[in-house]
């Protein structure tokens, strides 16, 4: 199971080797920025592949009898559309559906990279010449945070768009605690703003950490199972069976986490359009 280079590794080294990103340091002005090349390249390739495929399908769409690819895409679209329709009831939901579909497809693609046998993948990348290559972009906090922060950015944008700047400011300073006289409003404003701020921070953080935690934990369990092969052939066989079992269970987690991310995004955007 293990490739030649890891045969002599200790378990700690084995796990660390697999959990290290391919880092490239980029100097911009005075600062040095770290770039996880593996995360960015894998996720972009997956995104290009997935959305390229969907684009190909949608270009050949017919209103008559749909082909199998189109039927699949329509199924996906209808699934997302139905979910969003139940949550988002503030008029035109075209953008929210598109956003939700993008998140669902992209996240599920990135999560699904977890199904690739880790050691084979590592061996393959090693063979091509990359020392480290983490295959699952969503087990990198940068990816999940990028997604959730973008979502929160959109929430703020749509809040201002739906309620106006004054309306959104009113929401920030006068809810959840409201007062009737001006003195009360002024006294309560800092507390309200504090609460809203906590909400604004906790939303993206919980979104990002939930997805990241699930995928990272899943990968570590794969690694732990993979370590069984250090014992010998018997360990490798047992490890293979366990790997299969965990992979099957992981299908649920992969789909579920993508689904949760999508649903929460739709919920947050729906909340952004709500008037108080």
């Amino acid at each position: 199971m293990s490739e030649a280079s890891t045969a002599a590794q200790s378990p700690t080294e084995y796990i660390q080797h697999h959990l290290t990103n391919l880092v490239s340091r980029v100097r911009i002005g005075e600062d040095t920025w770290t770039l996880h090349v593996d995360t960015v390249v894998t996720s972009m390739l997956l995104g290009l592949f997935a959305f390229g495929m969907l684009y190909m399908i949608s270009r050949k769409v017919t209103t008559g009898v749909p082909g199998k690819a189109q039927a699949f895409f329509e199924l996906l679209y209808d699934f997302v559309d139905t979910q969003v329709k139940d949550i988002f009831t503030h008029g035109d939901r075209k953008f929210v559906v598109g956003l939700s579909l993008t998140i669902f497809v992209w996240v599920i693609m990135m999560n699904a990279m977890d199904f690739l046998p880790i050691d084979w993948f590592a061996a393959g990348m090693h063979f091509i010449g990359f020392e480290h290559w983490k295959p699952v972009p969503t087990s990198d906090m940068n990816t999940t945070l990028a997604l959730s922060l973008s979502v929160i950015g959109m929430v703020i944008f749509f809040s201002i768009k739906a309620k106006g700047f004054g309306g959104y400011a009113h929401e920030l300073f006068c809810t959840p605690f409201s007062a009737n006289n001006i003195v009360g409003i002024i006294i309560l404003a800092p507390f309200n703003f504090l609460f809203q701020l906590i909400e604004l921070v906790s939303k993206p953080l919980s979104l990002a950490l939930r997805l990241y935690g699930n995928m990272y934990a899943g990968e570590i369990i794969f690694l732990l199972i993979g370590m069984l092969s250090f014992i010998g052939v018997g360990g490798a066989i047992v490890g293979g069976l366990l790997h299969a079992g965990w992979a099957i269970f992981h299908i649920l987690i992969v789909a579920l986490q993508a689904f949760i991310f999508m649903m929460l995004t739709a919920v947050y955007l729906a909340m952004a359009h709500e008037h108080h």
Binding site: T63, Y77, T102, D140, N142
Partner: protein, 152 residues
């Protein structure tokens, strides 16, 4: 840096999906839904027209049936009339035949009676002649004999 790049990529993917990928699909689904709805409405209309056509057909069939019954009844009547007529004719013809036959029989029997009478008279005369040849003159008793003949 990674975060920034991922966010940019995410944004591009969202825009791409919203602008290029979903609209054709959504339009196609909407169009198909409309087509199906139209088709169903059309089918409903067809059903209704079928029902009216069925009613029309039923009416026509009922009419035709009534007409046919009428024609059959007429034919029946005609047949009975014809049969009656021919029966009457046959009866008349039979009567006539019978009449003719009985007339002939009557004539024949009259003739036979005459003949028989003549014969009997002749025989009687012959017998009487033979008995009376010696004592009776035929000329003298002719009148008497003729009277006897008429009585037979």
């Amino acid at each position: 840096m990674t975060l920034l790049l991922q966010a940019i990529g995410f944004g591009i993917f969202i825009l791409f999906t919203v602008k290029f990928v979903l609209p054709p699909l959504a339009t196609a689904i909407e169009t198909r839904r409309r087509q199906i709805a139209d088709g169903l409405a059309e089918a409903e209309k067809g059903k209704a027209s079928l029902a009216t056509a069925q009613k029309e057909v039923d009416k026509l069939i009922a009419e035709a049936k009534a007409k046919a019954t009428e024609i059959v009844a007429l034919a029946e009547k005609q047949r009975t009339a014809t049969i009656e007529a021919s029966k009457g004719e046959a009866k008349v013809a039979g009567e006539r035949e019978k009449q003719m036959a009985s007339d002939e029989i009557a004539q024949l029997s009259v003739k036979a009676k005459e003949e028989l009478r003549d014969r009997v008279a002749d025989l009687a005369i012959a017998g009487a002649q033979r008995i009376l040849s010696r004592e009776i003159n035929p000329q003298v008793h002719a009148e008497l004999l003729n009277q006897l003949k008429a009585e037979l």
